[in-house]
Structure formats: structure tokens, C-alpha cells
């Protein structure tokens, strides 16, 4: 049976795995749990490959492949959301990345988590995440995509808070979910607006209707612009862009494989995916595009600067992730969607690798994460060292490594962009380039601090040991990928055709790939050169600071304490949010709304009325003095009243029944 007609199998398998492990895994030994979890993901990986094969084998007349409708999920009035899955080139990329990297990380986890309690819980969550992520990438309408969107958020909440005994972990999980919710708020509104405009939320229908429409002018906030900005708001939440990036660094509280899978390779890229998926809309909204580009660019450099001074090995990687995501958005913002997706893929490889390697380091150091207490590990854990170095080279943009090509393509596209003025591109480039420098700097700083120099840990207590092969295997595979993964898009000056852009052509339209083609010859080479140069500079600085004279960094930190602290404390953004939003909200809720309005205001009024009635009642009672003479007087008064009324009031106006 062709898988294409049964796409639901691919997401369903992990779900089953999750359910089985979650409900029954509690009493099972790790082996069985592994079997279930790996089996589920492995199988779905296999099915995914098969599906891709069939998809690529489809005759041209079957393209684009129609979404598969399984059942109606929500139907109300004119609204209808089906449980529809689709597969196209973009999906193919995401599908392979998710299942593939996911599978590797599952394998890795069997080693990494071996000694943790709640083993089955972990894998159940992990599989659940796979399910939702697959739904996200395969969904054929926004609502179903939103299912995956929220689902992965949930899983990240669960997995970040996996060590729920640690308050910091629980807090981080909560933070992640809530910040994501803020993004989702925008995303939902975006969907509503789209529905109002197009009367449906199915991708094909929406895009078909949107394509011929008149696109908004720059600076005009038409439907497209607003809708795109709202969707992008969701993206910033999910993909940790300014101003909603704050949750991602904290998310490092989760187990390292989680950071690798969710907070580097897959989930955080969902935002990019959505933007790319909705490229039809975005291309109709130049303003939104510009915003995306600017935000991405700003995030990139912003996060990079913070990354410079972090000492926690995972924190560094986290900020670099934020920064790299910024790159991807920059790409989308300047219309180079394929470049963005390409970077997404390569980034998935090398960042996952970096995290896993870091995990392996931490594993080796027995849980130590602070780079200041590492050093000189290169001998002791050779495999880890090599693989991590590869990844670093990749991300730093060393030629021939994956990151080089993708980043190169992005910078190129940015440079060319003229959306919002002739110089936009140059400005973006001018920001993007230093980011590259910073990237290579902090990455090599990480390498040097970790693997070179003298050991800065107590060797008697910490017995550094290489990780088991269950962990090293994935490292190696990923290393290979992060070397050759980039060759899918050999730049033109290298002579090869840009497979990747062409492959995604059907999705994004060949227009922009053509544009790049045109620009390529004149620009690509010099720009590539510049990029390499900057990477080298970064490397050099790192080398000088952390190998040549190790005392220097502290000196620098002292000399520029203000800057240093600002960076170390991440520009005090968290504190800012706390002071500006959370505290006032809590205060208002407690003392104004609850104690004020509820208790004092409303209840006060009601009780006031009640007590008023009682006091009147009391006076009424006291009329009842028990003294007959007073009673007589009351009767007299009554008599006077009655007589007066009868004499001086008009007689009754007489009305008939109303029938």
C-alpha cells in the first residue's frame, strides 16, 4: 500500500509509542521502553522516507499532491476544519529533519537518560513531541497546524519541567508555555482574520485565493500585513525572537537531549516554517516582510552579544540558537525563503550536534555545566571533542561546512534585498556580518574553554569518561551531516547547481531562486570571502583571548564592567518584564480586583444593602414599643393618612384587561 494515502501513519506511530510508554511503561525495564520509543520513531522515520520516495516518484500531473482528508474535526456554521495532512517539498524537508534528527536524539537519549528516574515518562513525552511536531509540519490547514503548534509547546513544557522537583525547572517550563501562549494569542487572531478574509483556513484554498489579490503597499496596514504580523507574533513566541525570546535560555533546565531536539533542531524552527509556509501571504505584505527581517536581524546580533559572556555551556548554545533563528527570519524577511529553510536544516544538524556533544561533555563531567570548571578535555573525550569541533566549524561558517553555505546564502539575500528602500539590504548585511563574527568568537571560546587549557576542575572527584556508543553514534552521524549537509546547495561559483532552491521551487515559486541565480556571479564570491574572513577574525580573537593569555578576559571584563554585566545579565530583560508586567498585574489582581472590587466593592454593596434593610427592620421593630398609647397614636396617624389619601388623591385611573 502506498504510504502517501496513509500519511496519518507517520504521526500516529509516535503517538502510539507515547501512549504505550506513558500508560504502561511505569513498571517496565528500560529496555522495553527503549524498544517501544525507538521502534515508534524509527518506524515513522522509515515511513517518512518511504513517503518522500513515493512523493518524489509522483508523475508531474499528480503534483502538487492533494491534501489527504481523514475526518472533520471542527465544523460550525460556515467554518470547517478537517483533519487533513499534506505533503509537499517543504514538508518533505521538515519531515526528514524532524524524524531523522528526532530518531538520532532518541537513540542518544537511551544512553543519556539511562540513570534518570521517570525514564518511561521521558520517552513518552519525547514521542508525544514527535507526534505533535509531525502534525505541525504535515498539517494542511492552519487549525491543524495550530494543534501541532500548541502540542509541541505542551511537550516542551513537560520536558523542560521534567525535573519537576527543581523549582527552576518547573518555572522554566511554565515560562516557556506562557510566553508561547502570548505568541499564540497573535497566531489565533491571525487565523481569525484569515478566515474572515478568505472564508477558510485550508492552506491550498487560502493561498489560491490570496495569490491573485492586490498586495499591500509598503507601510499600508491592509489585511495581508496585519494577518502576517499576527502570524509572525506567533512565530516570535515559538521561535524565541525579540521580544519573546526570554523563555528559550531558561528552557535549558530540561535534559540536554530535549534542548537538542526541541530547543535547537525542531520546535523552535516551527516559526520559520510557518512564515515560509505562509510565504504567499508575506510576499503580499512588504511591511510585514520588513518587520520580519528587522526583528530577525536584531535578534541575531542581540542574542549573539549575550552569548559572548555566558559561562554555562548550554546557555551559550541557547543564545546561539536564538541568534541563528534570527538569521532564518532574516532570510525569510528578505524573501529568501529557501535559504531560510536551508539554514533551518543545516542548523538542525549542527546545533543538535552541538547540544548532544555538550550533553556528552556534561555527562563526562558528571553534570557540571559551567565552562569555567572545565578545560583540557580534548584528550579525555576525543570523540566528543572531534564531533563538537566539526559542529563549531559548521556554525562558525568555515568553508565546506554546512553552515557556510546556508549562512552565506542568507547574507547574500539580505545584501540584495531592497524592500523598504535601496539600502535596507546593506544595513541588514552590515548587522548580519558582525553577528557572524560574534558567532564564531563565542563558539570557539566555548571550544577553548572546554577542551583546551588546564583542567579547572578537581580531578580527584570528577572522573571524566567518554560516553557510551549509544550517545557517540548519533554524534558521529550528525557530524557527518553537518559537514556534507550543506552540499545540497553548492553555491554557483562552486560550479554546482543549487539543488535545494530548485527542489523547493514548486513551493516558493522559482522567482526568487532565479533572482539569486542572477545575482550570484557578480556578488556571491566576494561576499563569501568576507564571511570567511569574519569567521577567521572571530576565531583569532577567541584564540588570542583564551589560549594565548587566559588572564585577559577577566581583565577585559573588569575594564568594561558595565557592558560586561549588562551582557551577563542578558540586558536585564527578564527583570524588566517582571517589573513592568508581572508585578503590576499581580498587584492589580490582588489588591484592586479581588480585595477591592470583589470583596469591598460588590460584596460590600450587597452586604450594605442587607445591613441597611436590617437596620430599617430594627427601626420598624422599635415602632413596636409595646405601649398601647403609642399604638393608639399610630392608629390615629393611619386614620389621618387614609382619610387624607382618599380625600386629596385623584380617584383611581381605571384600565381594562389587556387582551
Amino acid at each position: 500500500m502506498p504510504i502517501l494515502d496513509h500519511l496519518w501513519i507517520i504521526p500516529l506511530l509516535p503517538l502510539l509509542g507515547s501512549a504505550i510508554n506513558g500508560l504502561l511503561g511505569g513498571k517496565w525495564p528500560n529496555k522495553i521502553v527503549n524498544g517501544v520509543a525507538l521502534g515508534a520513531t524509527g518506524l515513522s522515520f522509515a515511513f517518512a522516507i518511504e513517503a518522500v520516495r513515493e512523493f518524489l516518484a509522483l508523475p508531474a500531473d499528480k503534483m502538487p499532491f492533494a491534501p489527504q482528508h481523514y475526518f472533520d474535526w471542527i465544523v460550525a456554521g460556515s467554518f470547517r476544519a478537517g483533519f487533513d495532512l499534506q505533503i509537499d517539498q517543504l514538508t518533505v524537508v521538515m519531515l526528514l529533519v524532524v524524524t531523522g534528527v528526532g530518531f538520532l536524539i532518541h537513540i542518544y537519549s537511551t544512553g543519556y537518560m539511562a540513570h534518570e528516574s521517570g525514564y518511561h515518562r521521558f520517552f513518552s513525552y519525547l514521542n508525544l513531541f514527535m507526534f505533535f511536531m509531525l502534525i505541525l509540519v504535515m498539517a494542511a490547514n492552519y487549525v491543524l497546524l495550530f494543534v501541532g503548534w500548541e502540542g509541541v509547546g505542551l511537550c516542551s513544557y513537560l520536558l523542560i519541567g521534567f525535573y519537576f522537583l527543581k523549582k527552576s525547572a518547573a518555572d522554566a517550563g511554565k515560562k516557556a508555555f506562557i510566553v508561547n501562549r502570548i505568541g499564540d494569542f497573535g497566531f489565533m487572531l491571525g487565523m481569525f482574520l484569515l478566515f474572515r478574509t478568505f472564508g477558510t483556513l485550508d492552506f491550498t484554498a487560502v493561498f489560491a485565493k490570496a495569490a491573485p489579490m492586490q498586495s499591500d503597499a509598503l507601510g499600508q496596514f491592509g489585511t495581508f500585513t496585519v494577518a502576517c504580523l499576527l502570524l509572525f507574533m506567533g512565530a516570535t513566541g515559538k521561535s524565541a525572537q525579540l521580544p519573546l525570546y526570554v523563555w528559550l535560555p531558561d528552557a535549558m533546565e530540561g535534559p540536554t537531549p530535549v534542548s537538542a531536539l526541541i530547543h535547537a533542531a525542531t520546535m523552535v524552527t516551527a516559526g520559520v516554517y510557518v512564515v515560509a509556509r505562509s510565504h504567499v501571504l508575506f510576499t503580499h505584505a512588504p511591511t510585514a516582510m520588513l518587520v520580519v527581517a528587522v526583528v530577525g536581524c536584531a535578534t541575531a546580533i542581540f542574542a549573539a552579544t549575550i552569548g559572548l559572556v555566558q559561562t554555562d555551556i548550554k546557555k551559550v548554545l541557547a543564545y546561539s540558537t536564538v541568534s541563528q533563528l534570527g538569521y532564518m527570519f532574516l532570510a525569510c524577511g528578505v524573501g529568501a525563503f529557501s535559504a531560510g529553510i536551508f539554514h533551518l536544516m543545516t542548523h538542525a544538524f549542527f546545533k543538535a550536534l552541538l547540544f548532544l556533544a555538550a550533553g556528552s561533555v556534561i555527562h563526562a563531567m558528571g553534570g557540571e555545566q559551567d565552562m569555567r570548571h572545565m578545560g583540557g578535555l580534548s584528550k579525555k573525550i576525543k570523540w566528543t571533542y572531534i564531533t563538537m569541533l566539526t559542529a563549531t566549524l559548521a556554525i562558525a561558517g568555515a568553508p565546506l561546512f554546512a553552515g557556510f553555505f546556508s549562512k552565506d546564502a542568507i547574507l547574500l539575500a539580505a545584501f540584495q534585498s531592497e524592500n523598504g528602500g535601496p539600502n535596507t539590504g546593506h544595513i541588514l548585511y552590515a548587522i548580519g556580518l558582525p553577528t557572524a563574527l560574534l558567532t564564531s568568537f563565542y563558539m570557539f571560546r566555548l571550544i577553548f574553554l572546554t577542551f583546551f587549557g588546564k583542567p579547572r576542575y578537581d580531578e580527584h572527584h570528577v572522573h571524566v569518561h567518554e560516553s557510551p556508543w549509544s550517545m557517540l553514534g548519533p554524534l558521529v552521524i550528525l557530524a557527518v551531516l553537518s559537514i556534507f549537509g550543506g552540499w545540497l546547495a553548492l553555491p554557483a561559483f562552486w560550479g554546482g547547481p543549487d539543488y535545494f532552491a530548485n527542489f523547493l521551487g514548486p513551493v516558493f515559486g522559482s522567482a526568487e531562486s532565479a533572482a539569486t541565480e542572477a545575482a550570484v556571479h557578480s556578488l556571491e564570491l566576494p561576499l563569501a570571502g568576507v564571511a570567511v574572513f569574519t569567521a577567521l577574525v572571530g576565531f583569532g580573537v577567541a584564540l588570542w583571548l583564551y589560549i594565548r593569555q587566559p588572564g585577559k578576559p577577566e581583565a577585559l571584563a573588569k575594564s568594561m564592567r558595565g557592558v560586561y554585566n549588562t551582557l551577563l545579565n542578558k540586558y536585564y530583560v527578564d527583570e524588566l518584564y517582571a517589573a513592568l508586567i508581572i508585578k503590576p498585574l499581580m498587584w492589580i489582581s490582588t489588591s484592586v480586583l479581588w480585595k477591592g472590587v470583589d470583596v469591598a466593592g460588590i460584596d460590600g454593596t450587597v452586604n450594605g444593602i442587607a445591613s441597611g434593610a436590617k437596620s430599617i427592620g430594627d427601626t420598624v421593630r422599635h415602632v413596636q414599643s409595646g405601649n398601647t398609647r403609642s399604638y393608639a397614636v399610630w392608629v390615629v396617624i393611619g386614620a389621618l393618612v387614609v382619610i387624607a389619601v382618599i380625600f386629596f388623591w385623584p380617584a383611581a385611573p381605571v384600565v381594562g384587561m389587556v387582551r
Binding site: D72, A76, G77
Partner: protein
């Protein structure tokens, strides 16, 4: 197709059960519980069977109608002779509300199995009588009858809170009953006024007369009548300024009481709005739509914010239902078919999820006899299962897709957005806040190290508790995924409500292919609609 006075049986079966309970020895707790359970279960099964069979898919108007002359008004044999009818009927909306009621009754009987030890007999009698009242409210089509059940329901609830409640139960009970009465007595005046204007208490015929223009209420009258009805319902819901009775009532009520209160009683308010305010007083409804929507939005945000800072777990859940019901009211008063559908669905979803939350809170209470979150913390370690269920229900309550909470909220917001985007935008902040307070509470209760020694040895969910919770969870999931099963049945009913808001002057507009058209066309031959296969009926209801 079953036949006979089904609805009457549905209404009065629990009463018979209560009567039977009277004859049991009051110290024979075990059999009292069993009998009560049996009765409620039978009721549940019957309601499922009869109503789902009796209200065919896509059928418009009322099914399974029963109508008998009951009380004669006006001089005998004279022209002014009219009758208060005993008139019952079910449509897509009441259908599921009844099922929800019967189901939650079973649940609340189960969850009181061991937690109620004093005056057991009276307790279960009260629960069953409560069921009578609520089911009656949902099924009666005569204003008088409706009011009758509406009031009858008060007393058992009042006793539930007042006798089996916690420390400040009496205050809460009195507050509850006085608030509700204050509203309903005005509604009584309204009902009578309406009778005076129309000459009958029979809802469908009044409805007919108004819609066909055979009878036109003066604007002023309509406004006052609308307010008389609306305030009663708003207090019940409760809508923002009238909500303060709810937290007290919830905190003091026993678990079963809270479950019924949150699960069903609050819905009576929104049901009333759908059934009476909109169809009978459309002009006034439209006139007041904006202020009401604003109140609803205030309620959403307000309830959420106050929930956010509650140290008391049960109070938190109570305020959360203020917030959730705000969504429902908003959905109703957006007058959009989608949001209307959403509102109806949200009523059911909220019944299940908040009911579940109260169940869980009650289970915690049974173990620790406190609602203060400071007393909990780290409970996930001793009771992982309970923690898991709690998370599940919390997620459904904060509207996670694929769980029941999402569908309702989403549809409400979607529909509202089509009418007035700013409303939807404001309301949607509630979605963020709900995540905040629920996760916040969840963390405080279940995460972290155990702080109080007592908590270290708490038992996890017992078999019975697990049985209840699993059922709840399954339903939650099913409603989240298979929502179409419900929406396809509520569709025509809620569409009818929208249609009924049209008045002769605007009749011809209604003919034009607006949202109204399909049902309008379909109403005459609803009989054939029953036969129509599901898919195309869905097409008819859904895409157009």
C-alpha cells in the same frame, strides 16, 4: 424510535428514586449509595438512548414534545380562558445539556461515595431532586413550567451547600439562594408580563407569534422584559458584576455540589439566554449586545486575573469558571452562527473540564482537608496518577487543541471576530491568562519538593476515583477530537435561534443566502433530514 412520555420519565425518574430512598433505613449507607447510583446510571443511559435517538441529526425545532393542559387561567368557558401547559420538548441544545446533567449526576454520586458520611440518605435524595430540577429546566417549553423547575432546583442545591458544606457553608448557602431568588423573582414578573402581553405561557407559540409578526412587543416593554429575564440569567451564569456568590458557594459546597453547580447549574443561565432572551427579545438583545459583551469580556479577564492570585485552589477554579462562562456569554451575544455553536459547545466542555477540576480538588480535599495551596506542593511524587489527571484536565480547561476546551473557545472567538474583532482580541487574552493561573496553580500543588510532611504519605487515586477520572478524560479527549458528533447535532438548533431573531420587517433579508438560508429551507422537511446520511447533512450544516 422509542415513544411515550419519554421526557416526563426522564425528568421524574430521579424523583421516584428519591422517593424509594426514603424507604431505606437511613443508617444503611451502602444500599442508599447503591440505589442512588443505580437510579442515576439508569437515568444517564436512558437520556443517552432516548435523546440521541429522539432528536435526529439536523432536525430543526423541538422533538419528543409532550403537551398537556395543566392549570386553567381566566374564567372557565369564557373567551379569556387560557391554560398553563405542561409542555416538554428537546432540541439539539437541550439534548446535550440534559445528557451532561445526567452524566455529572452519576459522577457526583460516585465522588460522594465515601466523602459523605453524615446524613447520607438526605444527601443522595437532594442530589436526585437537584437532577429533577435541572433536567426539567432544560426540557420545559412552557415559561411557567420553566420557572417552576428553575426555582425547585434551588432548594436541594441550597441544602447541599448548607448541610454538607464546609466552615462558612451557611453564609454561602444563604448568599447563593438570595442572589438567585433576587434574580428569578424579577424574571417571574417578566414572565407574567409576557403572558399579559401575549396571552400564553407557551414558549413556541409566543415565539411563533413574535416571529411571524402576529404579535409585536412595544420597544419599551421588550427592553424591560429583556432585562427582567437577562438579569436572572446573568446572576446564574454569573456575569461580571453578579458573580460574587459563586466563589463562596463553590468553596463551601461539597465536591458533588461544586460539580453540579459548575457543571450544570451555571449553564442554566446561558441556556436561558439562548432559549429566551435572544428569540423573544431580539431587538433589545441587539440593543444591549455591546454592553453585555463588554461585561462578558470584563468577566473573562477579571475572573482570570483574580484566579491568578487566589491562594485557595477551589476558589481559583471557581473564578476560572467565571472567566470561562464569560466566553459563553460573549459567544451568545455575538449573534454569529459560529460563535453560537461555540457557546453551546463551550457550555458542555466547561461542564466536563471544570467538573473534572472540582472532582480533583475534592479528592485532594478528601486527603488533606484543605484547599490552601500553601498546604500542598510536590504532590506529584506521592500521587503521580492524580497529578497526571489533574494536568490533563487543566490542559483541557486552558484550551489545548484536541481537548474539549479548545473547540468551544476557538469557535466563540472565531465567530466573535467575524462580528467585532476587538471583542475577540480582548477575549483572547483570557486564553493567555488561563494558561497562567492553571499552570501556576499546578506547579504550586504538584511540582517541587514536598514541603509539608503529611503530604509525603498521601495515597494515590483509588480504583473508584480512577474509574471516574478515566471516564472524564476519555470524554474530554473525545469531545476534543470528535466534536463534530456534537456540533452537527447542535448546529440546526443554534441556527434556529439565530433565525428566530429575525422579525417580519427584516424577513426578506433573511431569505437572501446569508447564514440563515439553509436551515430556513430545511425546516419544513426536517423529517427527510433525519434520513439524510451524515456526510451531506454535515455539508448542509457546515460548508456553504
Amino acid at each position: 424510535m422509542p415513544s411515550g412520555p419519554l421526557l416526563s420519565i426522564l425528568i421524574f425518574l430521579p424523583a421516584i428514586g428519591a422517593l424509594a430512598l426514603l424507604f431505606l433505613r437511613s443508617d444503611d449507607h451502602e444500599w442508599i449509595r447503591r440505589l442512588a447510583f443505580a437510579v442515576s446510571l439508569a437515568e444517564f443511559i436512558l437520556s443517552l438512548w432516548w435523546l440521541l435517538r429522539g432528536v435526529p441529526l439536523g432536525s430543526a425545532g423541538y422533538q419528543l414534545e409532550e403537551i398537556h393542559r395543566w392549570i386553567a387561567l381566566g374564567p372557565h368557558g369564557s373567551a379569556a380562558q387560557t391554560y398553563i401547559n405542561y409542555h416538554l420538548g428537546a432540541d439539539g441544545i437541550s439534548l446535550f445539556l440534559v445528557i451532561l446533567t445526567t452524566f455529572l449526576t452519576v459522577v457526583s454520586i460516585l465522588c460522594s461515595w465515601s466523602s459523605i458520611q453524615k446524613r447520607v440518605k438526605e444527601f443522595f435524595i437532594a442530589i436526585l431532586l437537584l437532577e429533577v430540577g435541572v433536567v426539567g429546566v432544560f426540557l420545559s417549553l412552557d415559561l411557567f413550567l420553566f420557572f417552576l423547575f428553575w426555582e425547585v432546583m434551588l432548594i436541594p442545591m441550597y441544602l447541599l451547600i448548607g448541610i454538607w458544606g464546609h466552615d462558612r457553608r451557611i453564609y454561602a448557602a444563604i448568599k447563593f439562594i438570595l442572589y438567585t431568588m433576587a434574580g428569578s423573582i424579577l424574571m417571574l414578573v417578566g414572565i407574567i408580563w409576557l403572558y399579559n402581553a401575549t396571552g400564553t405561557f407557551d414558549l413556541p407559540s409566543i415565539q411563533q407569534a413574535l416571529q411571524t409578526g402576529a404579535l409585536v412587543l412595544p420597544r419599551g416593554t421588550e427592553t424591560l422584559l429583556f432585562l427582567a429575564f437577562f438579569v436572572a440569567f446573568a446572576i446564574k451564569v454569573p456575569l461580571f458584576p453578579f458573580h460574587t456568590w459563586l466563589p463562596d458557594a463553590h468553596v463551601e459546597a461539597p465536591t458533588a455540589g461544586s460539580v453540579m453547580l459548575a457543571g450544570v447549574l451555571l449553564k442554566m443561565g446561558t441556556y436561558g439566554m439562548i432559549r429566551f432572551c435572544l428569540p423573544l427579545f431580539p431587538i433589545a438583545s441587539k440593543k444591549f449586545a455591546s454592553p453585555i459583551a463588554v461585561l462578558a469580556i470584563i468577566g473573562i479577564i477579571y475572573g482570570a486575573l483574580v484566579a491568578l492570585v487566589q491562594p485557595n485552589l477551589k476558589k481559583l477554579v471557581a473564578y476560572s469558571s467565571v472567566s470561562h462562562l464569560g466566553f459563553v456569554v460573549l459567544g451568545i451575544f455575538a449573534f454569529h452562527p459560529i460563535s453560537m455553536q461555540g457557546a453551546v459547545f463551550q457550555m458542555l466542555a466547561h461542564g466536563i473540564s471544570t467538573g473534572g477540576l472540582f472532582l480533583l480538588v475534592g479528592m485532594l480535599y478528601d486527603r488533606r482537608h484543605t484547599f490552601e495551596m500553601s498546604q500542598f506542593g510536590g504532590l506529584a511524587t506521592p500521587m503521580p496518577r492524580l497529578a497526571a489527571f489533574f494536568l490533563f484536565v487543566a490542559l483541557s480547561s486552558l484550551g489545548l487543541p484536541m481537548l474539549n476546551g479548545f473547540v468551544g473557545e476557538f469557535l466563540i472567538l472565531l465567530g466573535t471576530y467575524q462580528v467585532r474583532w476587538s471583542w475577540a482580541a480582548w477575549a483572547a487574552t483570557g486564553v493567555i491568562l488561563s494558561a497562567c493561573y492553571l499552570l501556576w496553580a499546578y506547579q504550586k500543588v504538584f511540582f517541587g519538593e514536598i514541603t509539608v510532611e503529611k503530604n509525603r504519605t498521601l495515597p494515590d487515586a483509588s480504583a473508584r476515583e480512577r474509574a471516574i477520572l478515566v471516564t472524564m478524560a476519555v470524554i474530554t479527549l473525545w469531545m476534543g477530537i470528535g466534536s463534530v458528533f456534537i456540533t452537527s447535532r447542535t448546529a440546526s438548533a443554534s441556527q434556529t435561534v439565530i433565525d428566530q431573531m429575525t422579525r417580519p420587517p427584516r424577513a426578506e433579508e433573511a431569505k437572501t443566502p446569508s447564514t440563515v438560508a439553509p436551515q430556513a429551507r430545511q425546516q419544513p422537511n426536517s423529517g427527510s433530514a433525519n434520513a439524510a446520511p451524515k456526510t451531506n447533512s454535515l455539508e448542509r450544516l457546515g460548508t456553504r
